[in-house]
Symmetry: C2
Subunit: 385 residues, 2 copies
Amino acid sequence: MSSQPEHPTLLIPGPIEFDDDVLQSMSHYSESHVGPGFVATFGDTISMLRKLFQTTDPSAQPFVISGSGTLGWDIVAANLVEAGEDVLVLSTGYFGDGFADCFEAYGAKVTKLTPDAVGGRPQLPQIEEALKAKKYKMVTVTHVDTSTGVLSELKNLSELVKRVSPETLLVVDGVCSVACEEIQFDAWKLDGVVTASQKAIGCPAGLSISMFSGKAIEAYKARKTPPATYFASFKNWMPIMQNYEAKKPSYFATPSPQLIHALHTALTQILAKPLSERFSTHREASDRIKKAVADLGLKQVASKPEDQAHGMTAIYLPESVKATDLLPKLAKAGVVWAGGIHKEIAPKYVRFGHMGVSVTDPARKDIEKALNALSNGLTECGYKA
Amino acid sequence: MSSQPEHPTLLIPGPIEFDDDVLQSMSHYSESHVGPGFVATFGDTISMLRKLFQTTDPSAQPFVISGSGTLGWDIVAANLVEAGEDVLVLSTGYFGDGFADCFEAYGAKVTKLTPDAVGGRPQLPQIEEALKAKKYKMVTVTHVDTSTGVLSELKNLSELVKRVSPETLLVVDGVCSVACEEIQFDAWKLDGVVTASQKAIGCPAGLSISMFSGKAIEAYKARKTPPATYFASFKNWMPIMQNYEAKKPSYFATPSPQLIHALHTALTQILAKPLSERFSTHREASDRIKKAVADLGLKQVASKPEDQAHGMTAIYLPESVKATDLLPKLAKAGVVWAGGIHKEIAPKYVRFGHMGVSVTDPARKDIEKALNALSNGLTECGYKA
C-alpha cells in the first residue's frame, strides 16, 4: 500500500509518479551541506551516477546541480562551445529546437538538421554530408524528444561522428531517456549526456544531472575564452563534484540536501537490479502500449517503430476527437496525460508517459488504468475503433 | 512534538531547521507542472512573494526558478548588465566578492568597494565619491554577507544612489536577509533583491527567488545586446511567471512542484503574522545572542553593533581555542555551527545561524541549547570568560 494520499495517476512524460521511499526522502530533516552525513550521501549519489550511465572511465565527470533539466543545455553551451564555433544540432522536435536556441544565446553558430516530416529523425547520410561540409565543435542529439516521442539512435551515430569528424564532441540530451533507454556512455564514446531528475530516474524535479567525458573536459580546458556563465560553470562546479565524491566537504553554491537524498534513494532502487532488466521492462510495457494504441486504430507521432521511445508515446487523435475533450475524460478516470507541444501539430495529439514505478512496480496498475481510460474516453467522444 | 526524527540542531547560516509542515510539503504526491492544482499553488506562491518583499507595485516582477541562491547573481548579471558596462559592487565579504566574480564572467566592468577592515562595510561618502567618478549601470550590495555577518544599510544607500546617480539600478543580495531583516522593496526604491529558499524563508534549498522593479525590467528591455544565457533569461521566464500568477499553465522549463509546495507552506506561515513582528522576533533573539557572546568575552566579526546581522552571528574565537576543537564539542552537544569562510580570517571564527523556526517557534529551545553548548564547549577547550 502506498503511503501517498489518493491522487490522479500522473502519466505525462515527466514529472512521473514517485516511489513512496523517494518521496519520503524529500522530507529528510535539515542537514548541513558540508556536514559528514550529507557529504557521504552526495558523494555516493555522484558515484552511483557513473553506474547509471554505464561508465567506468575515471576521467568521466558527473555533475548534479540544482536547476531544471534545461540548465543542462546551458552547461553544455556555456562550457564546451565558444562564441563563433559551429554546432550541429539534430532536432526531432521542440526540445531539439530549444537546445539550438540555447546555443545561439551563447553565441555559437548553429546548423540544425530536421527530419523530412514531424515524427521522423535526421538520417545518417544527411548527417554525414553535414559533417563533411564543415568542421563542427559539437554534434547534439535529443535521445528522446518529449514533444514527439521520437527516439534517436546513438551507437551508429557515434560511430559516424568518430569516423568522419573524430574531434567533434557528441552530446546527448537524455532528459527523457536516461534510466529508461539504454545508454552506454563509454562503449558508445559519448562526450556528454544531460538529464533531469523528474523523468525515468524517478526523483522529483529540481536537479540537472549530467555526465561528461574526459575528452569533453579537455575541450573545456583548451578554451581560448572563459565561459560566459557563473552558476553553470565547469570551473566552479568541477572541484565541488570531485570533492564530494571523495567525501570531502566543499562549497560553491548550496545544493539541495532533500533533493539529493531523494536522488540517492531513487538511484539505490534503480541500481539494485541489473540495468538491462530495467530497460527491457520499459521496452515490454512500451510494446504493450503501442499495440493497444494501434488496436484502437490510432497512429503515433513517431512514424517508424524503430524511432519510437520506450518511456512515452505520442499519439495522434482521430480527426473527430479533440484533445481538449479527451484529456478531461481521462482526468475523470483518474489519469493525467499531457497535450501536444510541437507547434506544427499541437492540437492533434496527446502524450502518455510510461516511465519509472508506473512500469517497474508490478503492484501498480497504472498502464492498464490509462489504456482503459483512453479506450473509454474515445468511446465517450463518439469514436469507434 | 515534531514529526522529524531526533537529529542535531542545524544552526548554521543556512540551510536552517525546517518546520514539520514545510518538510511534509516536500513529500507532496506528484502533480503535473501545468495542471490546475499546481498552477494555483505556484501562482499563489508568486503572489505571496510580493507581500514578503513589501511591494504593491504591479510593475515589480517576482521570479522563482529551480537553482541555488547563486543563480540569482547570474540572473542579475546576465539580464540587467551588458558586457562592458560598469557595475559598482559593495563587498562586505566572500559573497560580495563572489557577486563581483559573477559580473566579470558576463563581461561587466566591476569596481569593488571594500571596507577598511574585515567586519566593516563601505561607507556612504566613499560610495558617493565612486558614484560621482563614473556612470554605473548598477550598484550591488550584500544585505547580510553570510561570511562575516555584516549587515548593510539599504535605505540611506538607496537615497544616495537616487540623489547622485538616479539612473543607476540598485540590486540587493538578500540571500541571508530576506524574511529576517526588514526589506521595503517599494519604499526603499530597490530595483532587485535576489535570495534563496533555505535561509530565513525556511524552505529547503533548491530555489532561486528574486524580485525586480519595473525600472529594472525596463532596463532589461532597453538592452542593445541579447543576454548571454538561456536558463537564467528574463525573456524565457518572465511570461511563465506572469502566466502562473494569472493561474494560466505555461511552460519553459519544469519547475519543482515539491519545492514550490514547501515554499507555499513556508510563505503562508510567514505571512500569517505581521512581518514587523517577524523582524522584531529575529532582532530580539539576535540581541540576546550578541549579549551572551559579549558576556563570554568574545568579539564579533562585524565590528559595529549597527552593522551586525539579526539572523546570524559571526564570532571570533579566543586565541587559545581552535574552531576544529570547538565545533566537534558543539556537535556532541547536538548543535551544528559553521566554520569561517572569509579567506583572511577563516580559522579564527565560527558562524551561528539564528533564523526561522529556531527563533520564531517558542516551543523550541534551539538558541538556549546553542548558547549553553558554546559556553560548555569553550570551557572544555580550556577557555575561561
